[in-house]
C-alpha cells in the first residue's frame, strides 16, 4: 500500500509539473484581461505542432523545439486575441469567454485542416523507467518536469525583476490605476497573451511528448487546466502551480480508491469543492 501511495505521489507530481505550465498561461491571461480564455486548449495544440515541425522536420532537439512552441503559440495567442476577442471584451467577461470557446473550435479545426487527424510522434527515443526502491520513474517525465520547472522559474523572474513583469502585475492588481499612471493596457494585454499562450504552447508540447500529438491534444487537458486554475485561484500565478499539483496528485490518488474510469471526475470535484468553500481558490486572486 505504501508503495502504491508513493507511486501515485510520483506520478501525480510529474503530471502536475507538466499541467502547471498551461495553467500558468491560463492564469497569466486571466490576471491581466479578467476573463477565462478557453482557446488555450487549441493554442497549446498549436505550440505542440510548432515544436513537432522544429523537432521532426528541422531536426532540432527538444529544448530548442520548446522555444519554437513558445514563440508560435504566443504569437498565435496574441494575434487571435487581437482579431477575435478584443472586440468582445467591452461587452463583458462572459461574452469574451464564449467567444474564446468559439475561437478554440475554430483553431482546433484549422489545425485539423493543416495536419489531419492522424496521431504523430516526436523524433525522440523512449526510455525504460528507472526503478528506485520499487517506484517506477520515467526519465522522459522527469525531463519534462525539469523543462517545465525552468519555464516556471523564467516566468517568476520575468514578473519579479523586469519592467514588463512589473507593468503586468500593476495591471493585474488595478487596471484603472495602472492606466492612470501611463501604462498602455493594450500593450500589456499583448504581452500577457504572448507570455501566457507561449507557456501553454510549451505545456502542449510537453503533454504531446508524453502522450500523442493530434488536433485534440490540448483539448484533452482543458478540464485539468481549468480545474488547476480554479483550485489555485483564478488569476493567481503561484496558485496555478499549486492547483496543478493538487489536481495532478489528486487524480492519481483517486485511482487508489476508485476505478480509474472515475479519475477525470476528480477535476470536476476539485472545482465544486473549491467553489463551494473557498471561491477565490487556494491563493485568492493575488497575481503574484
Amino acid at each position: 500500500m505504501i508503495a502504491s501511495f508513493l507511486q501515485a505521489l510520483v506520478n501525480g507530481t510529474l503530471a502536475g509539473a507538466v499541467l502547471a505550465l498551461p495553467a500558468l498561461g491560463f492564469n497569466t491571461v486571466y490576471a491581466v484581461l479578467r476573463f477565462p480564455n478557453f482557446a488555450i486548449a487549441s493554442l497549446a495544440t498549436i505550440g505542440a505542432f510548432a515544436g513537432w515541425i522544429a523537432n521532426v522536420l528541422w531536426g532540432w532537439p527538444a529544448p530548442a523545439a520548446l522555444v519554437v512552441a513558445f514563440v508560435i503559440a504566443g504569437a498565435a495567442g496574441a494575434a487571435t486575441d487581437a482579431l477575435a476577442l478584443r472586440p468582445l471584451r467591452p461587452r463583458g467577461a462572459i461574452m469574451a469567454a464564449i467567444g474564446s470557446v468559439a475561437l478554440d473550435l475554430l483553431l482546433q479545426n484549422a489545425v485539423r485542416f493543416g495536419f489531419g487527424n492522424d496521431p504523430r510522434g516526436y523524433n525522440l527515443p523512449v526510455f525504460r523507467d528507472w526503478q528506485v526502491a520499487g517506484i517506477a520513474i520515467g526519465p522522459q517525465e522527469v525531463e519534462d518536469a525539469g523543462l517545465a520547472l525552468v519555464a516556471m522559474v523564467a516566468l517568476f523572474l520575468l514578473l519579479r525583476f523586469t519592467r514588463i513583469g512589473k507593468t503586468m502585475r500593476a495591471v493585474a492588481d488595478n487596471a484603472a490605476l495602472a492606466e492612470s499612471k501611463g501604462i498602455d493596457p493594450a500593450r500589456v494585454a499583448w504581452i500577457a497573451n504572448s507570455v501566457g499562450f507561449g507557456l501553454a504552447g510549451i505545456g502542449g508540447m510537453l503533454v504531446a511528448l508524453d502522450t500523442s500529438l493530434d488536433p485534440l491534444t490540448g483539448f484533452r487537458v482543458l478540464l485539468s487546466i481549468f480545474a488547476a486554475a480554479v483550485v489555485g485561484g483564478l488569476g493567481s500565478i503561484p496558485g496555478a502551480v499549486a492547483g496543478a499539483f493538487v489536481v495532478g496528485i489528486g487524480e492519481e490518488f483517486s485511482t487508489l480508491f476508485l476505478a480509474p474510469t472515475y479519475r477525470t471526475a476528480i477535476g470536476f470535484l476539485a472545482i465544486l469543492v473549491v467553489l463551494s468553500f473557498r471561491p477565490r481558490g487556494l491563493f485568492g486572486e493575488r497575481a503574484y
Binding site: 523512449v126 517506477a136 520515467g138 488536433p215 492519481e252 485511482t255 480509474p260
Partner: protein, 396 residues
C-alpha cells in the same frame, strides 16, 4: 386565403432543381444520409468512408440512378461523438427526409442514433461492433456489416491461445462493448486452458495511464489485451514499454493504424498483434473500393460503407419504391438466397430491372444477415507490427 405552397416545399424544390438539371433526371432525388467520423478518434477512417460513399453514389447516378431517380447523399460528421451524431441524425431525418443512414462507426454513436432511426422508419447501416446494438428493440431497422463483439472477441481469444497466451490482462477504453468484449475473451481463453486474469476500464481522454498499467503489471500478465482507440493506444504502447513490459500485446487494427506505428519508435511497437474483420480480397467490389481510394489495402470500414450504399440502392430497386420501410422489407431479398450473385450494384440494378433475383456479395463479405441484423460470418485479418508497419500474418 392560405398559401397553396409551403415555404419548405418551395425551398426544397429550389434546392433540388440544380441537381435535377445537372444529372438529367426528371424525377426527384432519393435522399440518403451518411454519418461518418470525419474527426475525433475515428477520424482516420471517416474521410475515406465518405469518399467511397460519394463515389459509389455518383457512379450509380451516372448509370441511371435507382428507379430513374438519383441518390442524393448528404454526409455528416459525428466527430466520433454521440451527441454530435444525434444532431446529425436529427438533421438528416427531419430536414433531409433520408430513407437510410449509412456508415455510423463508433458504437456509442450508433447506439445514440438508432432510436431516432427505428422511430422514423429510417434504415440504419452501421460498422459498429458492440453486441448491445442489435439487441436494441430496432424492429429490423438496423443492419450491421461489422461482426459483433461476441464473434470478434471469440476469434481474438482463439488467436491468443494459438500464440500460447496464458495470463491475459485487459486494458479497455470505456465503450459500450468494453465489458462484452472482455467477458467473451475471458470465456474462450478459459475454455482453452488460459485465463483472463483481470480487466481495467479506463477513460480514454486521459493523458497518462501509468496507474492503470501499474495495476495491470502487478498481476504478472504475459499478454495485454489493449481494447483501445488510436490516441490512447499510442500512450498505452509508450507507457507499457516504459514500464518494462516485454510480453505480448494485442489490439484492434482500427487502433493500431500506420500513423500510430509511425508516431512511436519501432522498438516500442514491434511485435504488437492486431486484428480486424477482413474484407473479401477476391471480390470485384473490393477492387472497386481500391480504385476509389487509390490504395491497395483499403480499410474494412470503407469496404463496408460501399456495401451499405449498394444494399440501399438494390433494396429500393427490388421494392420498386424508395422508403425506409421498403429497404427494411427487401434488404435480405437482395443480399442472400438463391439469386444470381452480384458484386457490382449497377449490374445488380440492371438484373433487378430485368426481373431477376440477385444475391449481393460485397467488398466486406457475403452480406448475409441474421433476423437481428448481424452478419452471419466473415473472415479476420491478423497482423503484427514490424519496423513501424503492419505485416499481415494470415487471413482466416
Amino acid at each position: 386565403m392560405g398559401s397553396l405552397v409551403s415555404r419548405r416545399a418551395v425551398l426544397g424544390g429550389s434546392l433540388a432543381l440544380p441537381l435535377l438539371a445537372r444529372t438529367g433526371f426528371a424525377a426527384a432525388p432519393i435522399p440518403l444520409g451518411a454519418i461518418n467520423p470525419l474527426t475525433g478518434a475515428g477520424g482516420a477512417y471517416g474521410p475515406s468512408m465518405a469518399k467511397v460513399a460519394q463515389a459509389l453514389t455518383a457512379r450509380i447516378n451516372g448509370a441511371g440512378g435507382v428507379l430513374g431517380r438519383p441518390l442524393a447523399l448528404d454526409v455528416e460528421d459525428d466527430q466520433t461523438n454521440p451527441t454530435v451524431g444525434v444532431e446529425a441524425a436529427h438533421k438528416l431525418i427531419d430536414v433531409n427526409k433520408v430513407v437510410a443512414i449509412v456508415g455510423t462507426w463508433a458504437s456509442s454513436v450508433t447506439t445514440a442514433v438508432a432510436p431516432l432511426c427505428w422511430q422514423s422508419h429510417t434504415m440504419l447501416f452501421c460498422v459498429s461492433g458492440a453486441d448491445s446494438i442489435t439487441k436494441l428493440p430496432h424492429h429490423g431497422y438496423i443492419i450491421r456489416t461489422q461482426p459483433n463483439t461476441y464473434l470478434q472477441s471469440g476469434r481474438a481469444a482463439q488467436f491468443l491461445l494459438q500464440r500460447q497466451a496464458e495470463r491475459v490482462f485487459g486494458l479497455s477504453a470505456q465503450t459500450p462493448f468494453a465489458v462484452d468484449s472482455w467477458n467473451r475473451l475471458a470465456q474462450v481463453l478459459g475454455q482453452g486452458g488460459a485465463s483472463g486474469i483481470g480487466d481495467i476500464i479506463y477513460d480514454p481522454k486521459q493523458i497518462s495511464f501509468r496507474s492503470e498499467i501499474g495495476k495491470a503489471l502487478a498481476r504478472k500478465p504475459d499478454t495485454l489485451f489493449l481494447n483501445s482507440y488510436a490516441p490512447d493506444l499510442e500512450i498505452l504502447l509508450r507507457e507499457t514499454y516504459q514500464a518494462g513490459f516485454d510480453g505480448k500485446r494485442f489490439t484492434f487494427a482500427y487502433a493500431a493504424t500506420n500513423a500510430v506505428l509511425k508516431a512511436l519508435p519501432a522498438g516500442v511497437t514491434n511485435g504488437l498483434f492486431s486484428f480486424a474483420p477482413s474484407p473479401d480480397l477476391a471480390s470485384p467490389a473490393y477492387r472497386a473500393v481500391q480504385g476509389i481510394l487509390g490504395v491497395n489495402d483499403p480499410d474494412p470500414y470503407s469496404c463496408q460503407i460501399y456495401d451499405h450504399v449498394s444494399l440501399v440502392a438494390l433494396a429500393i430497386a427490388k421494392a420498386g419504391t424508395a422508403s425506409g420501410v421498403a429497404i427494411h422489407d427487401n434488404v435480405r431479398k437482395i443480399s442472400q438466397g438463391a439469386g444470381e450473385k452480384v458484386s457490382d450494384p449497377v449490374a445488380g440494378l440492371r438484373l433487378l430491372a430485368a426481373g431477376k433475383e440477385i444475391n449481393y456479395e460485397g467488398a466486406s463479405g457475403p452480406c448475409d444477415f441474421t433476423p437481428s441484423g448481424d452478419i452471419v460470418s466473415c473472415k479476420f485479418l491478423f497482423q503484427v507490427a514490424e519496423n513501424q508497419r503492419n505485416k499481415t500474418l494470415f487471413i482466416s
